[in-house]
Structure formats: C-alpha cells, structure tokens
Symmetry: C3
C-alpha cells in the first residue's frame, strides 16, 4: 500500500467527477454533500422509492447510511441497492448504530446479502454486523478498532466486501489483506458525522478504484489527512467541521503523500 | 434594470421581515433558513400535509424545492401551492434534478399549471421543465445557461412565471424582457445548495417586489454579490458557505450598488 | 441560584457523557448534534416508530422538538415519550411554532399530559401551550418573554415541568420559583435553531441534574455565555453559528462563573 497511490485516487475523482448517489441520515446530508463536492465528486441525495431505481442505475456509486433509518427509507434502500447491483455499480454500507438498535440491525443483516462493495463502521457496529454482541450504546463505539479486526475479516470473507473499522487507528480488510491507517485527530470525535463523511468519500473512491480494499484505505487516508490539517487551524469542533471541507478541497499530492500513514499488516 | 434598485428590495425585506414558507430538500434546510435570516426575512420550514395549508395562507411567500422529493412531500406541496394561490400569495419553484429523475419531472410539470410567480433552476433543469430533453445528470447542469434562454422564454410565456437560469452568467426572463446578472464566483459550485439558497432569497424578494422579473434579478444579484465578497475571505468551500451568510448579513447599499452587474438585454 | 453551580452541571455532562435521544426538526439535526458533542454529551437522532421505544429506554434523556412535525413523527414521539416515562427517564419538550400552526398545537397539548421534565419555548409558544391565544407568526415570537411569565407559572403548575421562556432575558419557573438569565447576544436571533440548541443542551442537563428548574437555568446560561463569547469573534450569523460550537467546547469554570448572570426572582 503506497502513499503516493492515494493521490492518484483523488486525482481520478477530480478528473471524472463521479456521480455519487446517497441515501443517508438527516444529520449529515449537508456535510457529506459538501465533502463530496470538495473532493471533486458530484453528490446527489435521492431517497424516494419513486426515484431511487433509475437514479442508482445511472450513478457511479451508491452510499447507504442507516443513521436515521425509517421504514419508507428502508424500502427505498432495498430498491436502490438492487438497482445498483443489477447495473454493476459499486455500493457502500455505513451501518450507523447497528447493534445498539434492533430494527436497523435486522435491515443491515439483510443488506449483507446484496454484495456490498465496502462497509465502514466503528468497532461496535462492525462487531454487531459480524454477529457478535455489540458493545455500542447510541451511535458511538464502546469497543476498540483492533478488537474488531478478527470479526471484520470474517465479515469480509462472508460478504465479499472490504470492511473498514474506524477509530484512533483505522483497519481495512478484505479478509486476506489488512491495511492500517494512522491519520486523523482526536477532536474529530467531537464533530457529528465524520464517520459518515468518510463513508461518503469512500463512495467516491469505489467509483474510480476497483480494488475495494485500496479504495477504502485511500478514503480513510484522505479524510484523516484533511482532519489533521483542519485540526491545526481549528479552535474547536465548529471550526473543525468547516476547516475539514477547506482541507479536502485543497489537498495536493505533496501534502497527501507526505502525511499519509498507511501500512500493510503482515499476515497473521 | 438599475443597480441601486437592488438595495431597495433588500431594504424592504429588512423592513417587513416577510414570513417565507419553505418546503425544501433535506440538504439545505439549515443553510437556506440561515440565508433568509441573514437578509432579515423570517423563514419557516413546514412540510406536513396536516400543516401546510393554513401556514401557506398566512405566509408572505412560499418556496417549493424538489431536491429530495418524496411522495408525502409531493402531496403536501400540492396542498401548499393551492392554498398560496387561492390566498393570492406569491410562490417560487426550484426544480432540482428535474430532467434527470422521471418522478419529480412529472410533479414539476403538474406544478407549472399552478401559476408559479418565479422559477429558478440551472440550464438542464430549465430545459427539462420547458419540455426539452434534459442534459442533466444528477443535480448538476450539463448545459450552458445561455443555451437554455430560448426555452426559458417559452416557459415564461406559457407558465406566466419569471424564469431564472443560473450559471456563470445568470439569465432572467418573463418571456419578453431579459436581464443578465454577472455576479458570483466559480467556487460557489463547490458548495452544496447555493442554487437552492438563491431560490430561497427569491422567495423573500417576491414577498416585497411585485414585478417577478425584478425580484428574480435582485435575488440573484444579492446572492452573487455576497458570494463574491465571501470568496475573497474564504480558503475553500467550507469557509465560503459560512462567509456567504456573514456577507448577506452585512450587505449595504454602497457595496451592493457598486458590485451589482445587472444588464437588460436588447430585445432580439 | 449560584453561578458556580452551572459549571458543576457542565462538568457532570463531561464526566458522564449522557446519551441524549433527539426527535427533532430537519433544520437543526446537525447543529444540535454538534452542540451536544461540544459539551461532552453523546447525541443520537432516532425517530422511526420501529426504533424509538428501545432507544428511549436506554438513553439518559429524550428531547422532543416539534419544528418540522409530520404525522409519522408524531406517532414516533408518542411512543418515545411513553417509553421514556415508563423507564423513568427525563424528557424535554420544545414546542416550536405551537400557537401559529393548529396541528402541532394539538399534539403539543396531548404531550403535556405525559409529564415533561422541562419545556423551553419563546413567549408566543409558551403562551399558546398555556392555552392563551398565541402571538406567534411562523416560528418567531411576537411577544415579550416577561409577558409570558404568569402563563408559564400556570403551565408549570399544571404540567409539573420546569418551563423556560427564552428572549432577551430568559425566565425559568417551576410554578413557585422563578430564575432569570440575562446572558446571550442579539445576533443569536439571526441564526436558525439556537432555541432548539438550548433545548438540546437542556436535554443533557436534565440527564445529570434532577432539579429541572436548576437544569433549565444552567442550560440557558451555558448557551447564553457561549453565544456572548462567540459574538465577540463573529462577523455575522454564519461565523456566529460556528463560533458557538467552539465556545461551548472551550467553556471552563472561570469563564462560565464570571459571565453567568442568573438571578432568583423574589416571589411575587
């Protein structure tokens, strides 16, 4: 996993402006659309059952986020995912709050059968999705990212998805390979929806990079490096949220390559 | 079309604090409410079928934005528009994504029969609304504003609305007159929902200015000038989104008149 | 009512990170989640009927905000409130727009029978909730906070809730005691949803402070002091919205105690 490859993914997003279809939660609609625009993608939030099928077919990637799931949204998600899969488009799952809330845990397990390209969650969510008893309470994780790695590998093998666990250190695995990303800043946990933003960026990455493990590792590096740069300028979480968008917009090859801290783990 | 008249419209908004009823998309609820507050209007987002009729009747203007249209929202929109029209209140249509997504294209065409006061969209959306084959993909335009002018004129004649096409140069027409506005900044395309914000500001303008062509030209000038001022202070799209609200709040007669670049086109 | 007690409430939030369950309006999901994170609470927005009951039971407090009420949301609110009450969890009501809009006025009156721990609104909303003819138009108040105090006392006696009326000076009463808070800044009325943010912060306060009158007074002091600090740094409402989050995050004992302007009113 080479640091300079991260910029190639970002440059491909800039060059191709992939249309990223998001069905996401009410908290992050604005911030994830802005993050996608900042990296050069073309976001659209389309979530009505009447609209999602044709839209998923023409989009370059689909992002499903369960953060404020409702029953009509769950129905639209199933239609959108089926349309994306049948059209051969990549799709990404963010299982927000899975494990802590039974209804969405059930929906998430059903979605695992639809060949997600990548999954990103915190440790509690990934543990719950892998069938373990979740350590989550609310939407924040009660568990350490590394502690969820074995479950993430099993989940990747079973679902075929690249699975990303975000935390102080992020882990990405496709069951065989494991990559760690050590970018980011602790204050990012005080801004709502930055995990969701990482997933949205991942949606843009899978649209231009066919190796889902690589796409996930690059997405987490991009958001992590932007977070570090933003944290140096921010006085608190309000300015951090704003500065991350500015940092994503300004990311260049030199900065990204110098700051990227990706490492391929030795196989165990 | 005189530059100093723009400030008179803004001053009227400050003086009368029009109540602007918005049924809008999930991405821009916060930013458009804040833009309306920044220019002195009183925004309210009310979109339940149980609530929209009495609220539209007491409001000074209604803004309809199709950006994340759902079937219950479409039902509420029809009730709200009918109530506004029967109460003699102006209403504004933002056909986000029309042309790219069949369901909302159908709804938008139905709304054209309800005498909109003004319509604002990008070139693809206006072309689609006028019955042309849309060039849109997602919610961003694939066409040039000027290329949509002939269609906009026809749409204005047919619907009775002032029609605004926004782009690098904006065009506003009522079928006969054509005004161009050359304010704004390219980085504004990297902030989500600034077109929607222009439409919300237009809602406040039609509440205080009965000539819809003038109201639309003034609204686009106000948001364009604020965008220019903000872009000088911004490091990227995150700070631009914030700075536009500060610039809208601080707009004064001298700045607005000096920067406004409106021109009446010679009739063709 | 002592100024130094405000920080003890804030410190308890930091120490215990209460899980605050929000069913709130579409305009403030992001900003209220961020405000709760900034003061050290753990927010979650969960509003599906399929999800709210188990979530309300495990949360430390429930915040109900009627700002963009829909019929499915009203159903979920009733389930969530019943679950919170039966689990002995505190819950807070923000009657946004009550009085101005009949449907939500009816829902709000029904909720009064469910033993709210605290209620926060502007003068028009509190007058309407107390059964007076509302002076509200849209979601902004047409009445002065002090003018609603007698009604607030009656409402508190009847409902058992601590009732907070926010305005230039805030009033909090449990029917017997009355506390005034004279913090805040006029520009805060130009940022959407800061009243909703005060209510969200109140949700975190009732999770750690059992005297609801004290919790409400402390919440309004926290948001008012943060607003004052932010206003000194802000150029307009855009930067004010951001700076309030930074100020909430950085609040310390010295600043909070020095700036807090709470006073217990002599009984009348």
């Amino acid at each position: 996993m080479q640091a300079d490859a991260v910029f190639r993914t970002l440059a491909a997003i800039h060059a191709r402006a992939p249309l990223v279809h998001n069905i996401t939660n009410l908290v992050v609609t604005n911030t994830t659309a802005n993050a996608l625009l900042a990296i050069g993608a073309s976001p659209a939030m389309v979530e009505a059952s009447d609209e999602v099928e044709p839209f998923a077919r023409v989009s370059d990637a689909l992002v499903i986020n369960l953060g404020t799931l409702t029953s009509p949204q769950a129905a639209a998600i199933k239609l959108a995912v089926a349309a994306a899969v049948s059209a051969g488009k990549p799709w990404v799952l963010d299982p927000v709050g899975v494990g802590a809330i039974p209804y969405r845990t059930g929906i998430a397990h059903q979605l695992l059968d639809r060949q997600p390209t990548a999954i990103r969650g915190n440790a509690s969510e990934i543990l719950a999705l892998a069938g373990e008893t979740g350590a989550g309470r609310g939407v924040d994780s009660g568990a350490d990212a590394k502690a969820a790695l074995a479950s993430a590998r099993a989940l990747a093998e079973r679902s075929g998805a690249a699975v990303a666990i975000t935390g102080a250190t992020d882990y990405v695995t496709d069951g065989k390979r494991v990559v760690t990303i050590s970018n980011g800043h602790p204050m990012m946990t005080r801004v709502t929806g930055l995990g969701c933003t990482a997933t949205a960026v991942l949606g843009a990455c899978v649209a231009v990079e066919t190796d889902a493990l690589v796409a996930a590792a690059h997405a987490l590096t991009i958001i992590g490096v932007a977070g570090e740069i933003a944290a140096k300028r921010a006085r608190g979480p309000g300015s951090l949220q704003m500065e991350i968008l500015d940092a994503l917009y300004a990311l260049n090859e030199e900065t990204l390559t110098r700051r990227a801290r990706l490492a391929t783990q030795d196989s165990e």
